[in-house]
């Protein structure tokens, strides 16, 4: 599940879990695709296969997930109002969208500041009860960083355009981003409510040189699972069978019947 990188010029990219057997007419499945804009200072229109997908898409905004039919897409990003016939600011041709994946396509700066498109496959596997999933993605024109929660490094040495993730107990954390191996804060701190059963994806974006580094957050909820059981009694006080007094009554009644029966038989013989 490593992210694949698409350079600004051209290039074919297989999105996600390998090349989909791209029979174009079979619209069998779909994938949930979101787009994040992480290139500072550039409002854009986004085209897919020549159709306008997004208008006036501003830096630091994220689309709602859209169900894209399985297939191959040409993605192009133009400065707002300039498409689709000129030269795109960023483009990626022959992007294969498989079936059943959850993908975020990020328009961002590479480590050296070139605008690129990077598709990431989001981990939507089930999360254990009580836990949350934290994913961090380095999509900023900046050197390697450490991501800290409450001052303690959680992910270290993360480079553009890589991601790191972990399932941890659900909690509210104060997160910041520092230059790798240092205490020099590059972004934050920001308060994150890491909810149970949710994948919180944090993007570092912008440019260190232009002093506009920032965080963007995407959440994917509904990944929770139920507790394993409900252990709710250790006493054994609950009577499941016949209560003792009733057992006694039954025993006494049977004994009485036996006694009376013997007397009755004896009386019969005598009689």
């Amino acid at each position: 599940m490593r992210p694949l990188r698409v350079l600004a010029a051209t290039g074919a990219v297989a999105l996600g879990l390998g090349l989909a057997a791209a029979a174009p007419s079979s619209a069998a499945g779909t994938s949930d695709v979101s787009v994040l804009h992480g290139v500072p200072g550039l409002t854009v229109d986004v085209y897919a296969n020549g159709d306008k997908l997004l208008t006036d898409f501003k830096p630091g905004t994220l689309t709602d997930p859209v169900k894209l039919p399985e297939g191959t897409y040409d993605l192009a990003v133009f400065p707002a109002g300039e498409g689709p016939d000129g030269t795109p600011a960023i483009k990626a041709d022959d992007v294969a969208v498989p079936s059943g994946a959850n993908i975020t396509v990020v328009a961002h700066l590479s480590a050296d500041g070139t605008p690129v498109l990077t598709p990431f496959v989001n981990d939507t596997s089930r999360i254990k009860p009580g836990e949350t999933r934290l994913t961090v993605r380095h999509t900023a024109a900046a050197p390697a960083v450490d991501v800290r929660a409450g001052g303690t490094p959680v992910f270290e040495g993360l480079e553009n355009p890589k991601e790191a993730k972990a399932d941890i107990p659900a909690a509210k954390v104060s997160a910041d981003v520092v230059l790798a191996g240092t205490d020099t804060v590059a972004i934050g701190p920001a308060d994150l409510d890491l909810k149970e059963g949710t994948n919180t994806i944090v993007y570092a974006w912008g440019s260190a040189e232009d002093d506009n580094l920032d965080l963007a957050v995407q959440t994917i909820s509904g990944l929770h699972s139920a507790p394993g059981g409900v252990p709710s009694g250790t006493g054994g006080l609950l009577e499941d069978g016949l209560p003792m007094p009733l057992v006694a009554v039954t025993v006494v009644a049977l004994a009485g019947a036996a006694f009376a029966g013997r007397r009755a038989v004896l009386a019969t013989r005598r009689g």
Binding site: S25, A27, V35, L36, H37, A48, N49, G50, D51, L53, L54, F57, K58, G60, T61, L62, T63, K67, L68, P69, G71, T72, Y73, K128, P129, G130, A190, D191, L192, K195, E196, L215, V217, A226, P227, G228, G229, V230, P231, S232, G233, T234, G235, G236, L237, L238, D240, G241, P243, L246, V249, T250, A253, L254, G256, A257, A260, G261, R263, A264
Partner: protein, 231 residues
């Protein structure tokens, strides 16, 4: 002589009637609808109409329009509507409610004090628009005796359950089903489902006690649906 025979008959009737009467009048272990059937998604809901692809000659799929929103970190503070107490007047149940999570082994935390009950705080709170609000409590404990939900097995379909929330509101429910389910096969994914119709799920222990395990074999599960007009 006849008198003895009559005594025999009377004693035999008593010996049969005592356990039979108990058996007929004891609380039933299952009543109403199946507890897993409430709020289950209807089978037709899962297939959205496939978008007809109007891209005439193009071999590439058509693209829908999309909306976008700022991806700034949210502060996540939302007004809480945690439940604080629960009462079932019909069986004299009244207990304080603690928000609880999970134990290390993945099972639901049950408040140690047997006169308190726990609400599974990762699921929806009572009064939500959707999903199962789960409240569980000890039926008893060796050290503390009977718990808050000791009499839960006596609850019947139609009984009222009131849950008081932290903001002062009360959500009223009505019992629709009761079942005793073997713990090892407890359908937790259904009972704790966070989607489907709003409902309250009450869980405690039941069935035979297994002394070697210091535990009951079964869980008693009661499901209730909200009734209009929260007091």
């Amino acid at each position: 002589m006849r008198r003895w025979w009559m005594l025999v008959a009377a004693c035999l009737v008593l010996a049969v009637a005592a356990p039979l009467g108990w058996w007929l009048t004891r609380p039933s272990s299952a009543e109403g609808v199946a507890v897993t059937s409430v709020g289950a998604p209807s089978p037709s809901a899962s297939s959205p109409s496939a978008p007809a692809s109007p891209s005439a000659s193009s071999a590439r799929p058509a693209v829908p329009q999309v909306t976008a929103r700022p991806a700034t970190p949210a502060d996540g503070s939302r007004p809480t509507t945690n439940p604080v107490s629960i009462s079932i007047p019909g069986i004299d149940v009244r207990a304080a409610v603690d928000p609880v999570g999970v134990e290390k082994d993945g099972s639901m935390v049950i408040p140690r004090s047997v006169d308190r009950v726990g609400w599974y705080r990762y699921g929806p709170p009572p009064g939500s628009d959707a999903g199962a609000a789960v409240v569980a409590g000890h039926v008893d404990s060796k050290a503390q005796g009977p718990g808050a939900l000791f009499r839960l097995r006596e609850v019947g379909v139609g009984d009222r359950v009131d849950v008081r929330l932290a903001d002062g509101r009360t959500v009223r429910y009505e019992v629709v089903g009761k079942e005793t389910l073997v713990k090892k096969r407890l359908p937790t994914e259904r009972l704790f489902a966070r989607d489907g119709a709003p409902r309250l799920v009450l869980i405690t222990c039941g069935g035979p006690f297994v002394p070697e395990l210091s535990s009951y074999r079964d869980n008693l599960v009661v499901v209730a649906e909200p009734v209009g007009g929260a007091a």
